[in-house]
Symmetry: C2
Subunit: 221 residues, 2 copies
Amino acid sequence: MKSKAPSKRAQLTRKTKRGFYDAETINGILDESCICYLSFTIDQMPFILPTAYGRLADTLYFHGALKGRMMKALEQSPQVCINVSLMDGLVLTRAVFSHSMNYRSVVIFGAARLVTEPEEKMAALEALTNQIIPGRWEEARAPNAEELQATCVFAVSLQEAAAKVRTEGPNDKQADYDLPYWAGVVPLIQKAGTPVPDEKRKKEVPLPRSVVNFVSTAEDI
Amino acid sequence: MKSKAPSKRAQLTRKTKRGFYDAETINGILDESCICYLSFTIDQMPFILPTAYGRLADTLYFHGALKGRMMKALEQSPQVCINVSLMDGLVLTRAVFSHSMNYRSVVIFGAARLVTEPEEKMAALEALTNQIIPGRWEEARAPNAEELQATCVFAVSLQEAAAKVRTEGPNDKQADYDLPYWAGVVPLIQKAGTPVPDEKRKKEVPLPRSVVNFVSTAEDI
């Protein structure tokens, strides 16, 4: 486990025991989600966008529309800050002040690089698609030239990243343990519901393996 | 329903039919969550922080540690962009390119105002606490003077906000409907697990009504 932050801005300034800077922790969190919160600036003003991502080794990829607002902004000012968070539980304490959450969260700092090389772009889109549901890329039509042209893909290195993890029970002040209030953790669970086939389908196609696997395991993540 | 965006930057530039600018839609989304993604700048560089929030009428409140990194940054540069998103489903299409999500999302632009008036600060903390679980404020010890002093609370007006909502099935190109691939929506459901009482408790306290209500209704949100 790498205990040293890769940069000053990536270093936790408070509750530093919750900070992890090793790739295993960071990638483990990234691989459990498919939506990141992307922060960048437009004319030096903050802007935020929830968007899909994919990870390949030590690079995070996201995409957008060609010449859309995001692409234009990142061409001007490529610096981004990205967060991926898994919310695991509400931590209810006897004192209002001590309430908290259990979570596993990653923040990434870096410059977004426009992916121009066709092989890297296709690999990034495959990673993005399989990040939604593992194996989905093989069960859908690959992008054609026109679609590839209409999409821009950006890469951000995971070199400057930090994880913050809280997995504890309530932490009340000693005197508060005598108060007559309930304290504990309410776990939050994300699960998949029953898949709903496209109403506009022309033919019956059985549920693919990727979706069957996802629905059966989503309760555990 | 207010169909006009409150500002140019809050206006959707693509898929404009998914944009809603009325308070009913915006507040409805905000009231279903308690975690926002807060984007601001430090030395003109983007920074992002997931944090708890509370809503009171047309104001969003969030809090932090006195003299923490966020407070220092917002005192220097108060402009923020905030996102709250509810992820409702994975939209799987026959073409990789057409994959999407169903979601309800709000983005808020504004300047963060440090709350200094004690009554507003206490009301904001009550809203923050009840946003986690409705009714929790009454079932925990209120903040004392020392705790209030250690916390900074910021307010952001909801005047410049926009909702973006997707609730449809898959949208494939006509030619792709003949492909032998499954398409549909996989709903994502957030539910509460069984509450876990504090291991360090000194006395047995029954589950409060707020938690019982939350656990029984969380499956529906």
